[in-house]
């Protein structure tokens, strides 16, 4: 059932993330895409400004961040205890708990559960965990259509595309592209778009509402992730905007939630910290439009068969490195993406992972290991400017961790004989601290003065080559990149 003709859902682009070339190459392709750069600049700029306003309204913001960091650290450092407690609570609530060591095992569990219900389609709430394990394709191979119901995810799915941002996955598409996709694809998979469809966002959203309503009303099985899983009560929490989450969590008879083991929180009370940190950091709202919390099966209300699949898929590897562990605190708010100068220029696709931006650059190589070209290059996809740490609601020291990962990559390289060996190792040093980095950058500026007439720096010679090869920096005249960024953004956390 692998040929195009029998597919139930739109085919995603060919190729796998892991087979992607290194960040440098991807970035060059993406940098050439003017539309992408324009959309990204506008989008990240808008969200950044809203976040700053919403954070400024909370005088105890720093205290909240410290609390968020501590609660996550407490959970991670005693994760075995909390996982056992979470399982007990879920079972008490009538949920069935499954454990999956890796993506293949998680997919097999979900496929079996869906097959057992005798259905050939499911509705899905946007979920990073299911993207990470590529669940949609596993379902497709089993002849089951998985319908994405978040508007942006729908645009991505119907566009035969991949998400480029955690929060606004279709940020790389503009309204006229969305209109074209809806007109061309909706009719192939259900309720068609109206023929007089305009490119007004409100009209496009209405078309999505009509297209999906039919699917919501007939769906027997839904698949979700969870933002938080409360060990004390077995409560799962989904934070969303559009109501597609509520539809999936409420209308079908069976609900399957795929939850990374690091999503655990100890108590309900902890939500008072995270329900303040997440919306303000993420969409720059005081509160997101809808949040659903449920405790397994509620008799007479919502799905009467509830499954929770707890997945490892590399998380215990991250946990095992005390210097890398903090990456598991991430609540996927995407503030670090929106503030990142590298992300703003290249977009999410270049990172070769469902987790793009600064957090992706530290998390992906830890989850997947550093054997592929793309994963080896990710820790270098940063300027170490530090903005990501300043905005992170759970205070993940991303720049320090990137440096840590660079050393790891360089150390692994040392065991191989190859021309890259010295370059990577030395670049690891050059980029290992902001001081070293600025030194390299001053050399670059000198180069700028010595080579008048050139508008782009292009690849710097060894030892900075692994970094500048990815960048094609505009010639920095007199000011360092970090200084320029700080000055032109004028933002702090």
């Amino acid at each position: 059932m692998s040929s195009e003709a029998v597919r139930r859902t739109p085919a995603p682009p060919t190729g796998t993330y892991i087979g992607m070339p290194k960040f440098a190459k991807n970035a060059k392709v993406q940098l050439a895409d003017q539309q992408l750069r324009k959309n990204l600049r506008k989008a990240t700029g808008t969200i950044r400004a809203k976040r700053v306003d919403r954070v400024a309204e909370v005088p105890e913001w720093e205290e909240l961040r410290l609390a968020g960091e501590a609660i996550k650290n407490r959970t991670l450092r005693h994760l075995d205890t909390y996982l056992v407690q979470l399982e007990e609570s879920l079972v008490r609530n009538g949920a069935k708990v499954h454990w999956a060591r890796d993506a293949a095992e998680a997919n097999a569990i979900v496929v079996e559960l869906v097959k057992a219900k005798g259905v050939d389609e499911v509705v899905k709430v946007k979920s990073m965990a299911t993207q990470e394990i590529d669940l949609n394709e596993a379902l497709e191979e089993a002849g089951i259509a998985a319908w994405e119901t978040d508007l942006a995810e729908l645009i991505v799915q119907l566009g035969h595309d991949r998400p480029s941002h955690i929060l606004v996955p279709a940020i790389h598409r503009n309204r006229s592209e969305v209109r074209e996709i809806f007109l061309r694809e909706m009719k192939l998979y259900g309720t068609p778009a109206p023929t007089d469809l305009t490119d007004e966002p409100v009209v496009l959203a209405a078309a999505a509402r009509t297209h999906l309503r039919e699917k919501f009303l007939r769906a027997k099985v839904a698949i979700s992730g969870a933002n938080f899983a409360i060990a004390e009560t077995g409560t799962l929490v989904v934070v969303e905007s559009e109501g597609n989450g509520r539809m999936c969590l409420t209308l079908p008879d069976t609900l399957i939630s795929v939850v990374g083991i690091e999503k655990t929180l100890p108590t309900v009370a902890d939500l008072e910290v995270f329900m303040r940190l997440l919306p303000r950091s993420s969409t720059g709202e005081r509160m997101n439009p809808y949040t659903s919390m449920w405790n397994g099966v509620t008799p007479g209300d919502g799905p009467q068969e509830v499954h929770v699949v707890l997945i490892d898929n590399g998380r215990t590897k991250v946990l095992a490195d005390p210097d890398g562990r903090a990456a598991l605190r991430c609540i996927r708010c995407s503030a670090c993406l929106n503030i990142c100068p590298v992300y703003e220029r290249v977009g999410g696709h270049a990172y070769g992972s469902v987790y793009p931006g600064p957090i992706g650059a530290v998390l992906t190589p830890q989850l997947r290991g550093t054997t592929s070209d793309i994963d080896k290059s990710l820790p270098f996809a940063s300027t170490l400017c530090g903005a990501c740490f300043e905005v992170c609601p759970v205070r993940i020291p991303i720049p320090d961790m990137l440096v840590h990962m660079r050393h790891k990559v360089a150390d692994e390289k040392r065991h191989h004989v190859g021309v890259e060996q010295t370059a990577i190792a030395v670049a690891g040093w050059a980029l290992s601290s902001s001081k070293h980095f600025e030194l390299v950058q001053r050399v670059a500026m000198l180069a700028g003065r010595v080579l008048p007439g050139r508008t782009h720096l292009g690849p710097l010679p060894w030892p900075a080559a692994p970094w500048t090869n990815a960048r094609d920096l505009p010639m920095p005249p007199t000011e360092s990149f970090r200084a320029w960024w700080k000055r032109t953004r004028g933002e702090s956390a």
Partner: protein, 216 residues
Amino acid sequence: MNAREEILNRVRGALGDVVQPDSAVDVPIPWVYGRPTAMPDILERFVEMTVDYKAVVRRVPAAGVPAAVAEMLVAAGVGSAVLPVGLDEAWCAAIAAAGITVHRDEPPLSNKELNAIDAVVTASAVSIAETGTIVLDHADNQGRRALTLVPDTHLVVVRADQVVSDVPEAVGRLAAAVTGGSPLTWISGGSATSDIELIRVEGVHGPRTLLVVLAE
């Protein structure tokens, strides 16, 4: 070894550096839970924030709720409404008297039947001034979750004594419902998306119109 045992073993193996077995002693949380947020007037703030989400809000004395509910539904052009089984009988009577077709959820309506009804009217559990959030715990006067999701208009009645300053107080008040197994729905304005060019569109899948009666 089954997956559960193996994952738990991996976790334990990964945490070799953690020597303190008591999580609370190992990592103290520098935070005092449940504190209110200071603000000049909680109800004022609640109304301001809720209106900011483009909800329609009306403040009335408690005795004026049935009339206000009926008037707001009529003004919104609602022809039919589903009412949860435990809804205040005086509100139900006023809605029926206004000429609105009333559906009760007994026996439970199908998803398709709900989809053909214009509006739903409910009470609520807790509301949060600072964020303009209304929380349902789906008690009998709010009904099961599908009722407040499928119809396109949701009219919700909030009692003044249910409004707290901020999220921490709200979570404190809601803890008992969660522990008791109730699902919660937090509603901050109507359904919305900013997925296309970050332009905010009010109303995607949930109710596109949110009407709020604040009873004082």
